[in-house]
C-alpha cells in the first residue's frame, strides 16, 4: 500500500516569508528563525536548569555533564516541537522507474550496448544478477524482451 506522498505546496512570499534554500533543502526564512529561537531557548534552558538543580544532587564535577544532558534533552524536545510547528517544505513523489527512464539514462551516459554485451559474455555472475533484476535486456539485446 503506497501512502499518498504529495504534501501541500506553498508559495513564496516576500520578506521573511520567503522560501530559500539552506543545505540543499527548501525552508521558509521566518520559520527558521522561530525554530532556531525555540531550539536555543530549550537547549540553553535545559543547561541552565541543570546548573540550578544538580549542585545539590550530584557531585560537583558531574554538574556540567548532567546539565549538558538536560541541554540535549531540551534540544531534542525542540526538534519535536519544531517538526510539529513547521511542516516540511517538500513535495514528495514516487519515481517511475519505467523503461523510458532507463533508456534515457543509458543514452545520457553514452552506454555502448555492444561493449556491454561483450563484457557480459565473460561475466556470468553479473549476467545472472542483471537477469534476476529484469535488467539484462538493457545491456544484452540478444537476451530479448524482459519477462
Amino acid at each position: 500500500m503506497v501512502p499518498n506522498l504529495r504534501t501541500v505546496q506553498s508559495e513564496s512570499s516576500p520578506g521573511a516569508g520567503q522560501l530559500v534554500e539552506v543545505l540543499g533543502d527548501t525552508v521558509r526564512l521566518s520559520h527558521v528563525v522561530y525554530a532556531v529561537v525555540i531550539s536555543l531557548v530549550l537547549s540553553f534552558g535545559g543547561y541552565w536548569i541543570g546548573l540550578q538543580v544538580f549542585p545539590g544532587i550530584v557531585s560537583h564535577t558531574l554538574v556540567n555533564s548532567y546539565s549538558l544532558l538536560l541541554a540535549m534533552i531540551g534540544c531534542i524536545i525542540g526538534v519535536v516541537m519544531n517538526a510539529k510547528l513547521f511542516k516540511p517544505k517538500r513535495v514528495l513523489s514516487e519515481s517511475e522507474s519505467n523503461p523510458d527512464e532507463q533508456m534515457e539514462l543509458l543514452e545520457e551516459l553514452q552506454v555502448d550496448p555492444a561493449e556491454e554485451s561483450r563484457l557480459l559474455e565473460n561475466d556470468p555472475v553479473t549476467k545472472n544478477e542483471l537477469e534476476s533484476l529484469n535488467l539484462l535486456h538493457l545491456f544484452n539485446p540478444k537476451a530479448g524482451e524482459p519477462s
Binding site: 503506497v2 504534501t7 506553498s10 513564496s12 520567503q18 522560501l19 530559500v20 534554500e21 539552506v22 543545505l23 540543499g24 533543502d25 527548501t26 525552508v27 527558521v32 522561530y34 525554530a35 532556531v36 531550539s39 536555543l40 537547549s43 540553553f44 543547561y47 558531574l62 556540567n64 555533564s65 548532567y66 549538558l68 540535549m72 531540551g74 534540544c75 525542540g78 519544531n82 517538526a83 513547521f86 511542516k87 516540511p88 517544505k89 517538500r90 513535495v91 514528495l92 513523489s93 514516487e94 519515481s95 517511475e96 522507474s97 527512464e101 532507463q102 539514462l105 543509458l106 551516459l109 556491454e116 563484457l119 557480459l120 561475466d123 555472475v125 553479473t126 535488467l135 538493457l138 545491456f139
Partner: protein, 450 residues
Amino acid sequence: MSTILIALILGVVGCILFSLIGLVSGTDETAVMVPFTLLVILLGAPPAAVFTFFMSAVLSKHITHAVPTALMGIPGDTLAVPLIDHATILRRLGVPHIALRKMISAGILAAFFALPVSLIFAHFLSRFAHFFETAAGPIFTIAAFVIAYFSKGRWASVIMILPFAFFLHAVGDAGFSILHKHLSIAFFLGIAVGPIVADLLTSFSPSGRAHLLRKKEREYTVAPDVKSWSGYFPNPLRALTGPQKILTFITAFISSLTFTLSPVGMTSLLGEAVGSRTRGLYKKSTTSLAVMNGVTESTYIAETIIPLVAFGLPLSPMALGPAAPLFNAPPVFSSSPMHNLHNLLTPWQFFWFGLLGLAVAAVIVYPFTMKYARRATIFIMKNISQEAIIAMFIGLASVLAYYEGHLTGVLVTLAVATFGGLLNRILGVGSGVQFMIFYGSTWMMTQLFS
C-alpha cells in the same frame, strides 16, 4: 553494573541514536558525534563502554546514511557525497534496493575487517610514536595542500590555506587570552556548522539573498516500493560478488593504512580508482558503491583506533573531528598530560569492546535498514522539516561551544562558522580542507613566525 553490561547498553543506545540520525540527510558527522560522545564520557561511563558506544555509532551511521543516498539521491551525510552519482544511476535503473544492499553489506564487512587490521597496524606503529608526533604538523599541512587542490575551489582553496590557518590561529590566541585555556571543540563545531551558518546569513542579507531564493518547494522523488524491501534480507556475504568482496577488503586495508588522510578524500579516491578499472555500467556502479561505503567505515574505524592505541594523541582527521572527545574531554580525558583511552584500555580490550560495538550495531541496523529503509525515509521526509534540523544543529553547537568556553566559545564558533562557511559556499573550500588546515595550522604558524 558490570562494564560489559554498560558497554552493551551504550552500544544499543549508540546504535539506535545514530541509525536515526544517519537517516536524516545532511547530518554532518562531527556536529552530531562530538556532542553525544562527549556526553557519554562526561556522564562517567567506563572507558571501555565509551569505546563500544563510539564503534556502534560509527557503524550505524554509515549504514543508514546509505538510505537517503540510495532512495532519494541525497547524501545522508558528508561522507555519503562521493556515493551519490553511482547510487543515482542504480536508482534510475530502478534498483535502489540493490544499491542499498551493496553499500551496507560492504560497510559491515569493511568495518569488521578494519578493526583487527587497525589494531595490528597500531601495534606496529607505536614504536614510531615519536616520529608521528613530530611529523604530524608537516603531514597535515601537505595533506591540506593536496586536498585543497582537489577540492571544488582548486587554486582558490590552496591560496586560502595560509590566510585561514592564520585566522584560526588568531582566533585561538584571542580565546586563550580571555579564557586562559585552548579551545578545540568550538573550532571544529565552527567548521562543521559553517555551511548552515553561511546559508542562513546569506539569506538574511537582502543583497546576498537573491541566488538562494526559491519560488516553490523542492521536489523529491522517492524510489517506488519494491517487493524485495520486506521480509527477505540477505547475508551480507551473499549480497556482494567475489571480486566485490575482495575489493572491499583491499580498499578497507589501504584506507586503514592511510589513517592521516581525510575520510571523504579516501572514499572518493578509492571509489575512483576501483570504478575506473571496472567495466560495464551496472558492475561499475555496484562495485564502486560497495567499495566506497566500505571505505567510509574502515577509515572511520582505523583513524580512530590507530592514533588512540598507538599514540594516545589525536593524529588523524577523525581524531581531530568526530572522535576528538575520545582523546580530549576535560576534565575526564586529556592528551597532554596523557590520560585517555590510550592508557585506560589494553589493545585486547579495544578489540573486544570494539567488536561488541560493531556486533551490536550490525545485528540491529542491518535488518532494520533492509526492512524499513523506505518507510523511514518517507516518514522523515514528510514529518521532519529542514527548519527543525537546522535549529537542532544551531542549538547543539551553541550549547557545546558555551559549555567549552562560555560566550567566548560561542563567538569563536560563530566566527569560524561564518568565515569557514562562506569560504565553503563561495569559494568551494570544503570542510575536509578546512579541517586539515585546522590540524596543520599550529605547525604552519610556528614555521612562518617563530
